[in-house]
Each structure stands twice: as structure tokens, then as C-alpha cells.
Symmetry: C2
Subunit: 329 residues, 2 copies
């Protein structure tokens, strides 16, 4: 918004009236300059992440504007969380169809403003462009981390345990509910699942507390099994997950509680939880960390020599899973 | 590309084969982690800028893929240049229509790779998503600057002189040529103007040399007069520009040399030159800076008390100009 080639005549009004109050950091210059300035605290490195959400792909056109804004922001903060970083702010690029109203934009900005307070972050600049295509929101999140403490994907070792935060599979079931699925579920369970789809919760406190405890971690966005495959690949290890230990919410269990549903939960996306490994000697430390940050953490498997990810059933048998990609409920 | 919700099945191949070689900085982890790490040199601040280009708005669907890539990158580097920053790298978010071929993508990546070498920068991560809409490229550029030396928009003072780099109006005339305009121009002039539209030249060396010399500066992207209006607004001054001193290329003059064409040049966009002010006492220093960085710099006006921007004709009469927005040749 500090500078743009947009042809929307009202853009400068948008800047002044809507987005400028989001530039709460002095280095954002109230969005009145070409760039923003960021001064990392002494002894810290800068952590960067860019992720976009597109209408019809990552959210639905009828989703509330404030929730769309929060989801766009939170999927990026979730990556900072998984690495142990602290969030500082973000850059925002909006591709805006002409049909979006000022009311929609005001709700969108309200959503951003509310989350800025929750996470203590500032808008650092951006760009708004009109598009004949769908609404698209690209965010670059900026965080900081004490030098040398980033939790990589590459540190998992044979003998390590595998953990995951929160519950898995809710978001995909929430999307199914929005599409008319699970008609028999009580309204409260439906809304809980929908909220998990629309409002992921970046686990920033947990991720920071896991610095030096976790040996490898990432955020679960494309499905638990597929994402753990990235840790397996980069760490050059094999990961075995016990299907029955994968944490599922009561609402999800009410939607379906057979092995089929567990596999769907483990392979569907949009969870935005942290999956991580830690040495077996640090199990107590992990559980203590979970307790101190009031975050549910569940031990779900172990790291071995080899390659790839195995999902194991009740009797230790391997459950076949198509790796990667979205699965839908 | 480090993480994505994309449903394109070939995305992980794209990452590995095409984009990973662009992650030349160690902190980009070869795009194998959730985030990138950036370590600013001691005594430096981080400079951030996000700008998107959209097919049909900022470039044409038939523009060569390598030039589209370079333009997307350079419009961001141009902002860093105008502030005196050094470029370090960028985050890239691609909204990719299904019709884009692997050949197109390979050319796109080649364009980025060539410019990374020219500007000494690295890809730090990003995201690729399929879209039913037009191709859209959002870039967040990351630079650094010695602490406290950023050239703001807000420092212009009455009595200062106004300068601009390069020539003005070429890009808009180049776009007109691409649309079939100026049929009588020789091919060499046509290609020169088209190149100015497709391949802006961020004036990084000039911008860095102007630290502490320029009192205010910005990059000219929406039209010289409109953009100088931002300096006038933020610096709370009035700016007077002599129309006849606005630097125009021989190719542009060949396309039209009346006052009408000068006004078009001064109000059309996509120049990506640096417009700046400096105290009259520093005129020699400015010209020396231009010479040392082999960059054409032209004195075009002066700063006064008041508000807004005036364009003055040969006899000092004010030429009426509709401020802001694109004008087309």
C-alpha cells in the first residue's frame, strides 16, 4: 500500500482510511514511504516466510472477510511457530476483484487488526492491485529468533520420538461440513470443526519453548503423514506413526471413528499444528513444555533408520497411505 | 516453495528442479525448510518492500516469461534503490494458471536466475498456488542499509532542488508501441521503448551514493508528477517542475515532441527512475554522484513553501495536469 501500480481510483483512500492504522510499528512509517525498516533485536536473526491463500483454493468466497484475513495471516505465523521464531510483522499483497465492497474490505482490515493485537505484530507494507481473477492474499511474515536457535527440519535422529500439537483432521472435516457434509452432527460440533478450518491457531508459545528441545519440526499444512515425510527426507530417517495415537477431537470422532477416518485425518490438510521430533531422553521436557504453554502435545510415533513415513495400525500392521496431497472427507 | 497448500501435483518437482537452484543464500536452506533465515550485517537495518504484478494489469499475457520475471523483481528493487538500500534477496509468491507450461516456467526461472546474478541476490522462499484467474506474481524484496541512513520521502525543504534519474515516459510509450501505437517509428526506437517498459533498471548504485546527499526520494512508478506529489505531501512542501527540463529519450522525442507529449511523459507510469530532492548547496555533489555511478541525473525543478506539484511551461505558466493515475500514450 506504500506504493502501487493499481488502477483502482480509490486506492489512496483505502491506504489512508483502512490500512494505515495497521502500520503500528514506527518502521512502517504509517505506510507513507516506499519501504519499511525493521530493526532486529541484538543477537537475533530474521526469519522469513511467504505463503498465499486464494479464493476457491484455500478459502471459500462466502467465508467471512475477517476470518479470511486471519487465516491468511495465521498460516504464515504457523510456520514461524514451528521454527521457534517470534512474530514481528508482515507484508500484505492483495489481488482484489472489483466486486469486493468497502464493507468487505473494512471487515478484512478489522480481522487483521484483531489478530495484530493477539500476536503483537504490525503491518510493514504491501500492495493492492485489482484483478479480473479471484481474490488472492499473499503474506510475507517476518519474525526474529535468537541467533542459532532455529529448529530445522533436518535434525531428527533414529531413536527420537515423534509428537504433534493439538488435534489432527478437524479442519478438513470443517471444510466438509461447510460443503454440506456430516449433516447428522450437532451444531456445536459442526461450528467447532468449521472454526478449526477457518481459524487455525499458530502455536507460537509452544514452538518457542521447544527451542533446543525438539530435534526437528515443521507445521502441518498439507497433511500429517505427507508433512512428516519432509522431516524424514531432509533428516534422512524413517518415521513410524501409530494411527490410534493420532490426537483427534471429540467433534471429529463424532463425525466418524473408524480406521478410514483416522487415515483421512492423517492425510488431510490445513491443520496448522506443529509436528516435531525430540530425543527420547527429553520426553519429560517436552511434556513439561506442553504444560507450561497450555498446549496439548501427543506422542504419536518414533524415528528409525531408513526412509519415508509408515502409518501403523493397532496390531503394528502397516496401513497403506497415498503420500502427499490433500485428501478430502 | 518451501511449503504450500497447492493442489498442483507437480509442485514438489517444480521446487526441486526449477526453484531450488535460485536459493543461493545459505539461509534459504535450498528451500527445504518452512522458513528462511537472514542475518543482516552488523550496524545495518532490514529494508522491506512488497509489490505484485498481475497479467493484464502490469504486463501482457504475451510478454516473454523471462522479462515478466525480471520486471516483477525489478519493480521491487527499484524501491530499495530509491531509499539507498542494498538488495539481499526476495520472497516469491506465484498464482499460476493451469495453462502455464513447464517451458514458460523454465523461462521464468531463467529470468530470475539471470537477474539474481546481476543484482547479487538470492531467493529466500515462497509459495506456488494454482489459480483459475490471471498469472500474478507477488514479490517481497529484502534489503539492508547502514543504520540511520534511509532516504525518506519526508525530508524535502523549501529551497531544495528536484532531480530525476534516467529518462521519463519511455515505458508508457513502449506499452503504446506493443499495442500498435507509433507505427511510423523506426524499429530500433520501438524496441528501445518496449525494453524500457518490460525491463526497468533499478538505480541501486545511484540510490546508495545519494545517502546523506538527497533530502527526500522515491521511485517513479505511477507517473513523475503524481509521485512527486507524495514527497510534497509527506514533506509538507510545494514542488515546481519545468516541463522542458524533464529528460526524455531521443526515441520518445521521435514518437512525439509537443507539450502534449511532455505532459504525457510526466504523468504516465512504469518509469522506475529515482526522483529526489537535495539542498541547492549539494548540486555539485549530486552531479558528482551521478557521474561516479554512470547514471544520468537531470535537475528538473525546485521545492517551495506550500503544497502540491506544479508543472511549468516555457514561459513559467502553469500547465494543467490531472494528478495521479496512469495516463496512456
Amino acid at each position: 500500500m506504500t506504493n502501487s501500480n493499481s488502477e483502482r481510483p480509490s486506492e489512496f483512500e483505502l491506504i489512508a482510511e483502512l490500512f494505515a492504522p495497521l502500520a503500528t510499528s514506527p518502521g512502517a512509517f504509517g505506510l507513507t514511504d516506499d519501504v519499511a525498516l525493521l530493526v532486529p533485536p541484538a543477537g537475533h536473526e530474521v526469519v522469513l516466510k511467504a505463503d498465499a491463500v486464494v479464493e476457491g483454493v484455500h478459502f471459500r468466497a462466502e467465508d467471512p472477510a475477517d476470518r479470511v484475513a486471519k487465516k491468511a495471516l495465521r498460516v504464515n505465523l504457523s510456520d514461524l511457530a514451528a521454527k521457534g521464531a517470534e512474530a514481528l510483522g508482515y507484508l500484505l499483497t492483495l489481488n482484489l476483484p472489483d466486486r469486493m465492497s468497502m464493507t468487505w474490505l473494512a471487515d478484512f482490515v478489522r480481522g487483521l487488526s484483531e489478530d495484530q493485537k493477539v500476536y503483537g505484530i504490525s503491518l510493514f507494507g504491501g500492495d493492492t492491485t485489482s484483478t479480473p481473477g479471484p481474490l488472492s492474499i499473499a503474506i510475507s511474515a517476518i519474525g526474529t529468533i535468537p541467533t542459532g536457535t532455529l529448529t530445522r527440519r533436518s535434525g531428527a535422529k533414529p531413536g527420537d520420538l515423534v509428537f504433534v500439537s493439538g488435534t489432527i483432521g478437524d479442519a478438513a472435516a470443517g471444510l466438509a461440513v461447510l460443503k454440506g457434509g456430516h449433516p447428522g452432527l450437532p451444531e456445536l460440533e459442526k461450528e467447532m470443526l468449521v472454526q478449526r478450518y477457518q481459524l487455525p491457531e499458530p502455536r507460537l508459545a509452544l514452538g518457542q519453548a521447544l527451542r533446543g528441545v525438539a530435534s526437528a519440526s515443521l507445521d502441518v499444512s498439507d497433511g500429517l503423514i505427507g508433512d512428516l515425510g519432509h522431516i524424514a527426507d531432509v533428516s534422512k530417517v524413517r518415521i513410524a506413526i501409530d494411527a490410534l495415537r493420532i490426537p483427534r477431537s471429540d467433534a471429529l470422532k463424532a463425525a466418524g471413528d473408524t480406521q478410514k477416518y483416522i487415515v483421512l485425518a492423517a492425510t488431510s490438510g490445513d491443520d496448522y499444528e506443529i509436528a516435531f521430533t525430540a530425543p527420547a531422553s527429553k520426553r519429560e521436557q517436552v511434556l513439561d513444555t506442553a504444560s507450561r504453554t497450555s498446549t496439548r502435545v501427543t506422542e504419536i510415533g518414533r524415528v528409525m533408520q531408513g526412509a519415508g513415513v509408515m502409518l501403523l495400525g493397532a496390531k503394528g500392521e502397516e496401513i497403506p497411505v497415498a503420500r502427499g496431497g490433500y485428501q478430502h472427507f
